[in-house]
């Protein structure tokens, strides 16, 4: 049987990877979107692991809500990326620098 801590470590590693992806990524906005998604999945892993080991259904219910919201979030994110591409013909993160001060 896999212990709770293994799941939590997996969640923490995924979460750390996605934060690193957001902070270090200088190339593509799509990658940012993937990192955001990965972050929410890391949280979901945590919730499911806890729900299973605590024998409590509430955590699993929460995961459904998080998944639904994540889908809506991605839809809005992709729409904005299309907007950025139309206005600038690029989706480079490095090109997003006109707002400064």
């Amino acid at each position: 049987m896999i212990s709770l801590s293994s799941y939590l470590i997996l969640g923490a590693v995924l979460f750390g990877l996605s934060i690193a992806g957001i902070v270090l990524n200088r190339r593509n906005i799509i990658t940012l979107l993937m990192c955001v998604e990965l972050m929410l999945l890391a949280v979901n892993t945590n919730f499911i692991a806890f729900a299973h080991y605590l024998n409590d259904i509430a955590g699993e219910v929460f995961v459904f809500f998080i998944l639904t919201v994540a889908a809506a979030e991605t839809a809005i994110g992709l729409a904005i990326i299309v907007l950025v591409y139309r206005n600038r013909n690029t989706i480079d993160v490095a090109a997003l620098d006109s707002l400064k001060g």
């Binding site: 949280v43 945590n46 806890f50 809500f65 809506a72 729409a79 904005i80 907007l83 950025v84 707002l99």
Partner: protein, 483 residues
């Protein structure tokens, strides 16, 4: 065979009547706006304003009801929530009123702005009365997602798209960090219910202490991101500078109230036994926010950016009340944020109204000689700015006094002195704007054109600061009694 061993009790729907009415009317507006021709958009505008008035009336009529939990304890009806909701609905009403002329002039989509604004308002209302992590998270997302869409509403502008993507990534990051903290909290307390979490944390064994600390740090970071406090403030000035003026008006006021609501639910009600720990975290955030907000605002040439940094500083002052960690402090923080929402609303409204006459107002120099172009508007803006600076007898002064008094009450005199010094530093850049308005010659001398109702609303908004400053008692007592 029993399918429902525990039948779900029928929730007390009358308590969520404002939310239900708002949601239903938003759907009505959404459909109406689709089918009416572009030249009669005023119908959807009037419908929106009528529904906001209806929601406000219901909220006021329900105000004296006792604290009640419903929807299996997921929803709490209390004075804190009601007071915040009344102000949020009022602020959004004024936002739509000011924006109408601007939206028409700039040919931005009107109906979409109203519908998105109302949905975001619904999110705030759910957020401030959540008593469970699930509605809290859903309210938070319903607040931020429509706001992201609103920032991107000017589809032809690359800057607006850039601001939108920044807001999108930052708010997603903030929610995810908050959720990670909540998941750890759930793991240690085996509950998502705020009251049960509070009980479990108060009686937990010492071995779980590090996990709760970790989750507390995540929760505070998520909250600081959302209200835009240092060191998680980078997105605020960019959003203010990049989005259309009417959207800035929306973003600057009501969501800040909801942010305090979230902090009260998560820190004050869910983690009251950890108050020494979150007090330490909030002290650091408040010190940094007050210093950075006030100092960087001095260097700004853009009026919108200056107000963005001033909002960061004001969030720091609001946190001072919260971190006093006693009911007096919470009441002072609530009073501060309500007064701040009026001041931010009024000062951004001036930008929106001035943009009506063709040119987009951006820099402080655009306000040159406002006094000779429109003396009344200049006077109102002067009062709003003086109130932000904390000059008596305006409302901002009593708001600052309230939080400082709460700090002195818990023997954090050094922090109160620090806040006071930076309040004096901060008044420099507000007074500089007043100087530009009154003592510099205007480049453009045309009078400013805006509608009669906007003029009336602006007067109400500006004078509210004066009236609340002379008679702060009623609102201050309401805020104190809410806790």
């Amino acid at each position: 065979m029993v399918f429902f061993p525990n039948p779900i009790p029928v929730p007390q729907l009358s308590l969520v009547l404002p939310e239900i009415v708002l949601l239903a009317l938003t759907c009505v507006v959404l459909l109406t706006d689709l089918f009416i021709p572009a030249r009669s958009k005023i119908i959807s505008y009037l419908l929106v304003q009528a529904s906001l008035i209806a929601v406000a009336v219901i909220l006021i009529l329900q105000f004296h009801w006792p604290t009640t939990y419903t929807f299996s304890d997921m929803f709490v009806f209390d004075k804190i929530g009601s007071l915040m909701k009344i102000f949020m609905v009022g602020v959004v009403f004024f936002v739509f009123l000011y924006s109408r002329g601007y939206l028409r002039q700039t040919r931005l989509p009107q109906g979409e702005m109203y519908v998105l604004g109302m949905l975001s308002l619904l999110g705030m209302m759910v957020l401030v009365s959540a008593n469970n992590f699930i509605p809290l998270y859903l309210g938070l997302e319903l607040l931020s997602l429509p706001m992201t869409a609103m920032v991107a509403m000017n589809r032809g502008s690359g800057i607006a798209a850039e601001a939108a993507i920044k807001l999108f990534v930052m708010s997603a990051l903030a929610s995810a960090i908050l959720l990670y903290g909540l998941s750890l909290l759930y793991g240690t307390t085996k509950s998502l219910d705020i009251n049960q979490v509070a009980q479990a944390v108060a009686t937990m064994p010492n071995s779980q202490y590090p996990v709760v600390i970790l989750s507390l740090v995540f929760v505070v970071i998520g909250f600081a991101f959302k209200i835009g406090a240092v060191p998680f403030h980078m997105w605020v000035p960019d959003i203010y500078a990049g989005s259309p003026n009417s959207v800035v008006l929306f973003v600057s006021a009501a969501p800040k109230i909801a942010g305090l609501g979230m902090a009260i639910r998560l820190l004050v009600q869910a983690l009251p036994s950890m108050n020494i720990e979150w007090q330490a975290l909030l002290i650091v955030i408040a010190i940094l926010s007050i210093a950075l907000g006030n100092l960087v605002a001095i260097a700004q040439r853009s009026f919108k950016r200056m107000l963005a940094y001033s909002s960061i500083a004001h969030m720091g002052y609001m946190l001072l009340g919260l971190l006093a960690a006693n009911p007096t402090g919470y009441g002072a923080a609530l009073f501060y944020i309500l007064v701040y929402s009026i001041m931010a609303l009024g000062s951004f409204a001036v930008i929106v109204l001035m943009s009506n006459s063709g040119i987009e107002i951006e820099n402080i120099s655009d306000l040159q000689g406002l006094n000779s172009r429109d003396p009344w508007l200049a006077f109102l803006l002067m009062m709003l700015l003086f109130s932000m600076a904390g000059i008596p007898p305006l409302a901002g002064f009593f708001a600052k006094i309230g939080v400082l008094e709460a700090l002195i009450g818990v023997h954090l005199v050094w922090l109160a002195a620090y806040a006071l010094i930076f309040a004096i530093v901060g008044s420099y850049y507000y007074i500089r704007v007043v100087k530009v308005m009154y003592f510099e010659e205007p480049k453009i001398t045309d009078p400013i054109q805006y509608s009669m109702e906007a003029r009336l609303a602006m007067s109400v908004n500006g004078l509210a600061v004066l009236v609340l400053g002379i008679f702060p008692g009623v609102l201050f007592t309401l805020c104190q009694r809410a806790f």
